[in-house]
């Protein structure tokens, strides 16, 4: 095929979902001429599954994207219709925000942001192939015959690669939500030597609110005190809409069991690996036969539609079976479907082929982000998107990559897990995956990442000034609390007891039930600062002992993480390594010794050998 010259860009982002948006915005905002290629501009920022952003660990990711100067937090703050802080009873590390989004508004917001960003163009078209010269990507080809030249590419294709939608015995090649799939790019990727995997995910039915009896369900309301996602959003007051809780029952389960042979998962028609994190209802019924009920949340898809999302009822059973068991649910006896639940299979890459900057190991300038890397979730996608976008620019500028450590961000844990351990099912972020959970709180995402975002050129003056003000306020208050002696009358007023020995006000704040807002007046603070400052201050004082403990653990962790390893090294030349370790290290080419230690099949003994071996080089240089 003869391609016409479609122009030249610095960065081309393939895909306009949550990863693509952040990648493209990062590219353009860092001063690079950026093109976002999408199959359909109407599906920019689409949420093809649940109408919500955030949740445990995912809420942390949104805050991190925001602290780096990304868009997701601002977008959801502008468009949420309900918001909640989860886990407030379980400690500050696991507090997580979750919001219900107005899907259409979210999309409209995101498209407008893209369209109003300098240096950024959005173009409809299917990217079918990549041009690689001298080990570097130099252009992409489109189905309509354009050759678009570029310095770097970010592939953020979501679940569109060879997408196949399955509903019972019916199946068709398609992207999600009835959108067109992309059937050529994965073939090109295979030709370029990439190893692909086939994953599966699914979504429940959407139903007509007019066909539901909400009086049989329990309404679930948002928080009265709204805490926004973005550090820039300030105070938000907004009317919120409820979700509704209801349950499956024995009748539901009986219908599913009677028809289980018609499930493509159990008949073997679906070959892709599905996530344990979002099992279909038939999965739940089969794996947990003793459960008498499973809970369902009915969530509005937006304010301008009557469509409702049925969280907990994802399925790939035939449509008629779905309708039958949906109708066993209290309040859904007369339910009308607007969209049938389906499973979707798609191609993604084995992320072990990526470096920590999300660049493909064997082609310079080719970056990957989002579900194509084997992750699931809008937030996981967005976090990878901003990292890939930043690193594409760093690559063009021949600057060292931005790599976030496991001790710095959930986004760091996410990328390290994917590229070091790989994944055999769609990867979901969880707080349990973070070793240093108490340091990676949602309240201090800005303290962890804002400076990095600033250095990358994504954090503007307004954001940075606000951040510096917050940090300064916390530091000043903390110092004064640590220096001011707690007098007897203060202790009695705050805790109801006399002070036990000489104490500072900080010690009083450490007691259970004592709030920062109650203590600050004793150091002469007349007007209380913003809630976010109070929250962070309180956490840092109250949990100081545990935070210190994790800081010490991080020091150990860093001692290995800071020892860099050469790239393209021949590990077979180190005779002290066990054979298995040589092979694993040769294939993985880890970037530092800490990462090498996390590769399965590399033992502590092998790490000792690496330490000694590479110390030789360091010593020679010094």
């Amino acid at each position: 095929m003869n391609y016409y010259d479609g122009g030249k860009y610095d960065v081309i982002v393939v895909g306009g979902g949550h990863a693509g948006i952040e990648a493209a915005l990062a590219g353009a905002r860092m001063g690079k001429k950026t093109l976002l290629m999408t199959l359909n501009p109407d599906s920019i920022g689409l949420m093809p599954c649940n109408p919500s952003i955030g949740g445990t660990a995912k809420g942390h990711l949104v805050r991190e994207i925001d602290a780096l100067g990304g868009q997701m937090g601002l977008a959801i703050d502008a468009t949420f219709i309900q918001i909640k802080m989860l886990n407030t009873g379980k400690g500050p590390a696991v507090h997580s925000l979750r919001a219900q989004a107005d899907k259409k508004q979210y999309q409209t917001y995101m498209k407008q942001v893209l369209e109003n960003t300098d240096l950024l163009e959005v173009r409809m078209g299917e990217v079918t192939d990549l041009c690689v010269e001298n080990g570097k990507v130099t252009a992409v080809y489109t189905a309509c015959g354009a050759k678009l030249h570029c310095g770097a590419v970010v592939l953020a294709t979501g679940v569109y690669l060879k997408g196949k939608v399955i509903i019972g015995e019916f199946s068709q090649e398609s992207g999600p939500a009835g959108l067109m799939g992309a059937n050529h790019l994965s073939g090109a990727m295979t030709r370029l030597g990439m190893e692909l995997q086939r994953f599966k995910t699914g979504t429940p039915a959407r139903v007509d609110a007019r066909s539901l009896d909400f009086s049989k369900m329990t309404p679930q309301y948002g928080d009265e005190r709204i805490i926004p996602f973005s550090f820039m959003s300030g105070k938000i007051e907004r009317e919120q809409v409820p979700c509704y809780l209801t349950y499956t029952n024995e009748k539901t389960h009986a219908i599913i069991r009677e028809n289980i042979h018609r499930s493509p998962l159990f008949s073997g028609q679906i070959k892709g690996t599905g996530p344990r994190y979002c099992p279909s209802i038939e999965d739940k019924v089969v794996k947990f036969p003793d459960r008498e009920r499973h809970q369902l949340f009915i969530e509005p898809e937006g304010l301008s539609t009557r469509e409702m999302y049925v969280q907990g009822m994802s399925s790939s059973l035939p449509e008629e079976v779905q309708i039958a068991f949906y109708r066993t649910i209290p309040g859904m006896e007369n339910v009308r479907f607007t969209r049938t639940a389906y499973a979707i299979e798609y191609d993604c890459i084995d992320p072990l082929q990526l470096k920590l900057n999300l660049e493909y190991k064997h082609i310079g300038g080719l970056f990957f982000a989002g579900q194509i890397n084997g992750s699931s979730g809008y937030e996981e996608a967005g976090a990878q998107g901003i990292i890939a976008g930043i690193n594409a620019v760093r690559y063009l500028q021949q600057e060292p990559p931005m790599i976030l450590g496991r001790d710095q961000a959930y986004a760091g844990v996410l990328v390290d897990d994917l590229v070091t351990k790989g994944t055999r099912e769609p990867y979901r972020m969880m707080t349990s995956r973070a070793e240093y959970r108490l340091l990676l709180r949602q309240d201090n995402a800005d303290a962890r990442l804002c400076r990095i975002g600033r250095e990358m050129g994504l954090v503007d003056d307004a954001r940075y000034d606000r951040f510096m003000y917050k940090m300064d306020a916390i530091r000043r208050f903390k110092e004064r609390l640590e220096q001011t002696p707690a007098k007897a009358h203060m202790s009695r007023a705050l805790t109801g007891t006399d002070p036990s020995g000489p104490q500072k006000l900080a010690d009083i704040l450490k007691r259970p039930g004592v709030k920062a807002a109650d203590v600050l007046p004793y150091i002469g603070v007349e007007e209380l600062p913003d809630e976010e400052i109070l929250d962070s201050l309180e956490t840092e004082v109250k949990y100081e002992g545990y935070i210190d403990k994790q800081v010490r653990q991080v020091e150990q962790f860093r001692s290995l993480e800071n020892r860099r390893l050469p790239q393209g090294f021949d590990y077979h030349s180190i005779s002290g390594l066990r054979i298995e370790a040589r092979m694993k290290l040769q294939a993985a080419q880890p970037e530092n010794i800490g990462q090498a230690a996390r590769i399965s099949g590399v033992s502590p003994a092998d790490i000792s050998v690496l330490l000694v071996y590479f110390e030789k080089d360091a010593a020679t240089k010094a």
């Binding site: 445990t56 989860l86 499973h294 949340f297 349990s432 001692s559 180190i574 050998v609 330490l611």
Partner: protein
């Protein structure tokens, strides 16, 4: 959780009965840990680098050994880190006890080759040796891992795996509640995990306590029979074995050799070290016997001091007692010849010595059973011997010790009402320490368990 810059300890000289055993502590806490076990006469807290100090290794008030201590300040040391060396007497027991004491204070037992590795990493060795050193360290640490793995077979391995699984379940439940706050998991909330955690703590503590027993089973209980010549040590031995094993006569100093005898007591081998009796003498042969007696006491797990009730207490008795106490071994007093005219009563002995006293008549074989039973208890400890479940590897013992500490912290945090995200830090640590023994250290396993156990997700 083996770190690259934690503090490690090990015997730096060859194992066995050398003249002097050098114990090396290396790492940032070397001086601090040494300060907790090594005491000079002036109770000094600071040590001038590269000066040798005379002092004692003590565990609380119990003396373990007289020793010389030297501090090498980083980087001027063998490893390039802060190093403290303790030069102990060559006895196997004293060195081992000192090492265990160092571990209790937080020094990790060094991996094979680890001092050399650190020396290399701190530029203390020739760069040209890099590959050779890497090879050697690789081989040594692999060997160490294999040895530890071999010692972790069968029932013991299953038991520790089971402990880790119990903790996995508890953690999975806590984490499931955290990850899925809105799912109706019918979870036990954190408070209800406490009884399970307490039970787990007790199990690990019992196993950790078996470390001492493990050594007993492997090495037997070494019992030194001490006392002045002719108080009836050999007769006691004969009473135990029921036949004439040692030469018995009334000429003091007849028994010149330390005689080892094995006797099975409640399925534990007991090795009796009969001695020539402690008495200052110019007789060369007997003096050698006295030295050997001291050696026997040095290496004993329990010292049985035999006293003669037909004679009053003598200076030599007190010397033997003092010598035995000095070694740190528990002392049991056998007050012999209870059938003869009594000049020394049980009460008098108890007033003079801080040790249990058993009255016996060796020649008539009375009081022997009680003596043996008491001796067994002193060697084995209050909990008795737990069959089949003993820890023998010091690395395993150290990991268990760390797991216990973390578990204790976690339990304390939960009991104090500290939030789950903080308390779980300690519990995760405990889990990883157990994992150092079982080899299962991937947190992913806890996540796997969450999804096996609970029906979660949208």
């Amino acid at each position: 959780m083996i770190g690259q810059n934690d503090t490690i300890c090990a015997q730096a000289t060859a194992a066995g009965n050398g003249g002097i055993a050098i114990l090396r502590i290396s790492g940032p806490r070397a001086l601090e840990i040494a300060g907790q076990v090594f005491f000079t006469k002036k109770q000094r807290k600071t040590f001038k680098p590269r000066y040798m100090y005379l002092g004692e290794v003590r565990s609380q008030d119990t003396l373990i050994d007289g020793a010389l201590g030297v501090y090498f300040k980083a980087p001027h040391s063998y490893t390039g880190e802060d190093v403290f060396e303790l030069h102990c007497h060559g006895g196997v027991m004293a060195a081992k006890q000192t090492l265990e004491l160092l571990m209790q204070h937080g020094a990790r037992p060094a991996q094979p080759g680890e001092f050399t590795k650190r020396a290399f990493l701190h530029g203390k060795m020739d760069i040209s040796a890099a590959e050779a050193v890497a090879d050697q360290i690789g081989a040594l640490s692999e060997k160490g891992a294999q040895m530890a793995a071999r010692q972790m077979q069968g029932e013991l391995a299953n038991s520790i795996l089971d402990m880790q699984r119990t903790l996995t379940d508890i953690l999975a439940e806590m984490e499931a509640g955290i990850e899925y706050p809105e799912d109706d998991l019918e979870l036990q909330i954190a408070g209800d995990a406490l009884p399970q955690l307490h039970a787990l703590y007790a199990r690990i503590a019992a196993l950790h306590g078996s470390f001492r027993q493990g050594k007993l089973i492997r090495e037997g209980i070494r019992v030194a029979l001490a006392g002045r010549p002719n108080v009836g040590k050999s007769s006691l031995l004969n009473a135990i074995f029921g036949e004439d094993r040692a030469i018995v006569s009334n000429i003091p100093g007849t028994t010149r050799d330390v005689i080892s005898e094995h006797y099975m007591l409640n399925s534990l081998p007991i090795m009796f070290l009969d001695t020539a009796g402690v008495r200052d003498t110019r007789d060369v042969i007997e003096r050698i016997g006295v030295e050997r007696t001291h050696q026997a006491i040095d290496s004993a797990a329990v010292v049985v001091l035999v006293l003669d009730s037909s004679e009053s207490l003598q200076q030599e008795d007190e010397q033997v007692y003092a010598y035995a106490k000095q070694t740190g071994a528990p002392v049991l007093i056998a007050l012999n010849k209870a059938d003869l005219q009594v000049k020394l009563t049980k009460e008098q002995v108890e007033k003079n010595f801080d040790a249990p006293v058993i009255e016996i008549a060796a020649l008539h074989r009375t009081g022997i059973d009680l003596l043996l039973e008491t001796l067994y208890q002193m060697a084995v400890g209050d909990q008795g011997l737990q069959e089949g479940m003993v820890i023998t590897n010091s690395r395993h013992a150290f990991s268990l010790q760390c797991a216990l500490q973390s578990l204790q912290d976690g339990i304390a945090a939960l009991e104090a009402g500290i939030d789950l995200d903080c308390a779980s830090i300690d519990l995760h640590d405990a889990w990883r320490y157990l994992g150092e023994i079982t080899g299962q250290t991937l947190d992913e396993q806890i996540i796997d368990r969450i999804f096996e156990k609970f029906c979660l997700g949208k």
